[in-house]
Amino acid sequence: MERTDTYERHHLKATELRLGLPGTDEPQKQSPATASIKSNKRALPESAKDCSSNNNSCASDVKDGDCACAPSSKAQVVGWPPVRSYRKNCFQQKKNEPDVSGMYIKVSMDGAPYLRKIDLKVYKSYPELLTALENMFRFTIGEYSEKEGYNGSEYVPTYEDKDSDWMLVGDVPWDMFTSSCKRLRIMKGSEARGLGCV
């Protein structure tokens, strides 16, 4: 069908690999009906990587495109391969590992002669952080309960937030905590009792 051929020619032209720089014109190739059968070669690894880091912009380019628009890099097509987005996010997490700067904060403990420093980025959840603190300063933190804070412990973990208020560790979502925590203080029980019972 003629209509189909024109349509295909548009798309194929934009997606075929060229030997020239992008943007330069190639002599028009004759594309017979069999053009659709020609298997498109893989994009070069560089362009694949570029596109995968700009995942969203590639996808939106395609969506907003008009009749003649086609993905500029062959590597990313909207919705292909057919993998749900929550599966994709899973693995990008692993890849984002090379993040050089740590998030070092001071940790003080009542009665200890000197302070320590820890990198908050190393921990992914409260239990991990609390265990590390317990090991570092050799003490135990009690069970966290919403009403009573840290039950039955001599020490209570607190932190200074962006507003310079002293807060009980554990009340807010982990990422909110790591982004607002300026320093940690392991407070002795007697002082902490007021803080723990909200």
Binding site: N40, S52, W80, F91
Partner: protein, 584 residues
């Protein structure tokens, strides 16, 4: 004419008839059976929320207790349906709130649900028991708080794969202390950044739910907490862990291992985010009882996966990443002779080169070794016709076969031919095939095979395939049982569509995006077929601002007795002439 039995007796007999198909058949026997049946139907499944209206449903079935609805088409899962397209459940819940005060169950898939709707659900139905939101969106944890707080007899809350906005509150603590009715809780789709408050609330909830049998947690629940949770719920049948990683500590391991061995009823395991392989052996004691294992988030090497899987001799369902590789699948084929369903997901779908050795060999091995295999979803990077022949020959019992060769239009990598013959063998041998997804290099010939042989096929997914209209024509004219057809990026056009217009009324829906269907043809179809809703989805602006022969971006066609819908966004055009005139 006198009845052979009084109404009450017929009603009693009908109460044993559960399947929708049978119920529908009963209602067609005669007028009085229709009447009796509609008053005693308690459960309904509506596969397309726009095929019928709430009013029509309520008018016919005044005493429903359980309603299931589906909204957006399947390709919405892959971002092919623009935001705002539709699928709102609110009008349904409003109407049901008035008509079905005794409603107990609501199951929604791919629908847009708001917090207000959830609040309405929690307050309208005094005996509400089951809420399943599958791949839904539009609500936040505030909406969940309403459900938790107000549904006194809640048995099941399942948010599988929904997109929930986490507002950071503590909705789990909104379950009253008196609520002990929970049987099933699936919050695996929720966030990975919980506060200790949230964790504490979950522990307390689990602790006071003696009937809890299915618990699927989210990534935020750390491994250190898992042992305690398991000890509070030793009768669990299904468990979804949270993050499966922790500083390596012998205490944590032995605690966990002990907790797992106390859960003797466990049959299904999932979760396993961020797996540290050294912790996997903690589950070994319950492996022999497992029938379902979902390791599709476990980014670990084949050897670790194999050690675990080979312990699960009674496994019926396995979902796994392609890290398992061909060698792992060969081990699976040796050990798990009861396997019925296999899904292999790609660990790095956008990598230019394969990152693992997962090829057609793996699937062939499983087809050889697992006599009960009937359902396959397989992502890989290469295939051959020979492999497909072998699979078809080994497993004529296949009912679902979805093969995704990651690169579009990839030929048989040995012969460089299209995969027509291979898929042809599948449809020819697997006579009970109900669902098929194609990929690789395919010409119209594969569609000829499908039209000729796939007589039980109900759902077909096609992408980057075919030569022209003939392909589509083969499918529409040959596949007698076809209900759902979804096509993207194929050179199918007007001719096949218009020639098979009547067929479309026998199907639930047809989706065609980035094909060669013209606006002209859509209009014609809409005009000729009043019981079809023909919707053009195009974000480039009104279809009539381009030449009529210019292909539309997407056309979505579905049968409906509700007429065109009135909640369409600006980028959706209905081909209903009357409505278009009214709105213009």
């Amino acid at each position: 004419m006198a009845h052979s039995f009084p109404e009450e007796v017929l009603e009693h007999v009908f109460s044993f008839i559960d399947s929708d198909k049978d119920r529908n058949a009963v209602s067609l026997v005669c007028k009085s059976w229709y009447e009796i049946e509609r008053w005693c139907r308690r459960k309904i499944f509506i596969g397309n929320c726009y095929a019928v209206t709430p009013r029509i449903m309520i008018r016919r079935f005044p005493e429903l207790r359980s309603v299931s609805l589906k909204g957006k088409p399947h390709f919405a899962d892959f971002d092919l349906v623009p935001e705002g397209w539709g699928g709102y459940v609110d009008p349904w819940v409003s109407a049901m709130g008035r008509a079905y005060p005794l409603l107990e169950e609501l199951r929604l898939k791919r629908m847009v649900v708001s917090d207000d709707t959830l609040e309405m659900v929690s307050k309208s139905f005094k005996n509400f028991k089951v809420l399943v939101l599958s791949s839904c969106e539009g609500f936040t944890t505030d909406g969940l708080a309403s459900i938790a707080a107000n549904c006194r007899n809640l048995r099941e809350l399942d948010l599988r794969e929904s997109d929930v906005e986490d507002l950071g509150g503590n909705w789990l603590s909104c379950f009253p202390e008196s609520c002990t009715s929970l049987v099933s809780l699936n919050i695996s789709c929720l966030g990975s950044e919980w506060s200790l408050r949230n964790l504490s609330a979950l522990e307390r909830l689990v602790g006071r739910s003696p009937n809890l049998r299915r618990l699927r947690m989210n990534r935020a629940v750390p491994l250190d907490k898992l042992a305690n949770l398991l000890r509070r719920a030793p009768y669990l049948v299904e468990l979804g862990t949270g993050a499966f990683s922790s500083e390596l500590h012998p205490d944590v391991f032995s605690n966990l291992s002990g907790a797992f061995s106390g859960c003797k009823e466990l049959r299904a395991l999932s979760g396993f985010w961020d797996v540290v392989p050294a912790y996997l052996p903690a589950v070994y004691t319950i492996c022999s009882g497992l029938t379902s294992l979902n390791l599709s988030y476990a980014a670990v090497q084949s050897s670790d996966l194999v050690k675990l899987i080979t312990q699960c001799q009674n496994l019926q369902r396995l979902w796994v990443l392609d890290y398992i590789e061909d060698s792992g699948l060969e081990a699976l084929a040796e050990s798990c002779k009861n396997l019925q369903e296999l899904r292999v997901f790609p660990s790095d779908p956008f990598a230019a080169e394969p990152n693992v050795t997962l090829t057609e060999q793996g699937l062939v091995a499983v087809s050889e070794g697992c006599p009960k295999l009937e359902s396959v979803l397989y992502f890989c990077r290469q295939f051959t016709n020979d492999a497909l022949f072998t699979i078809a020959k080994n497993r004529p019992s296949l009912t679902r076969f979805r093969l995704c060769i990651i690169e579009p239009r990839t030929p048989d990598y040995i012969t460089l031919e299209p995969l027509d013959a291979g898929f042809g063998a599948i449809v020819q041998n697997c006579k009970e095939l109900r669902r098929l997804s194609l990929s690789g290099l395919l010409t119209d010939r594969v569609f000829e095979h499908i039209g000729t042989h796939a007589k039980k096929l109900e759902m077909l997914s096609i992408a980057f395939a075919g030569d022209g209209d003939l392909g589509l024509h083969h499918v529409l004219s040959g596949c007698e049982s076809l209900r759902k057809l979804e096509i993207r990026d194929c050179p199918f056009g007007d001719k096949a569509l218009l020639a098979n217009a009547a067929k479309l009324e026998t199907m639930r829906s047809l989706w065609m995006s980035s094909c060669s269907v013209s606006f002209e043809a859509c209009k014609l179809l809409g005009q000729k077929m009043p019981r079809l809703n023909v919707e053009v989805i195009d974000e480039r602006g009104p279809p009539d601002s381009r030449p009529e022969s210019c292909p539309v971006n997407t056309v979505y066609i579905y049968r409906s007795i509700a007429g065109p819908r009135l909640d369409m966004p600006a980028f959706v055009w209905t081909m209903d002439e009357e409505l278009a005139l009214r709105l213009s």
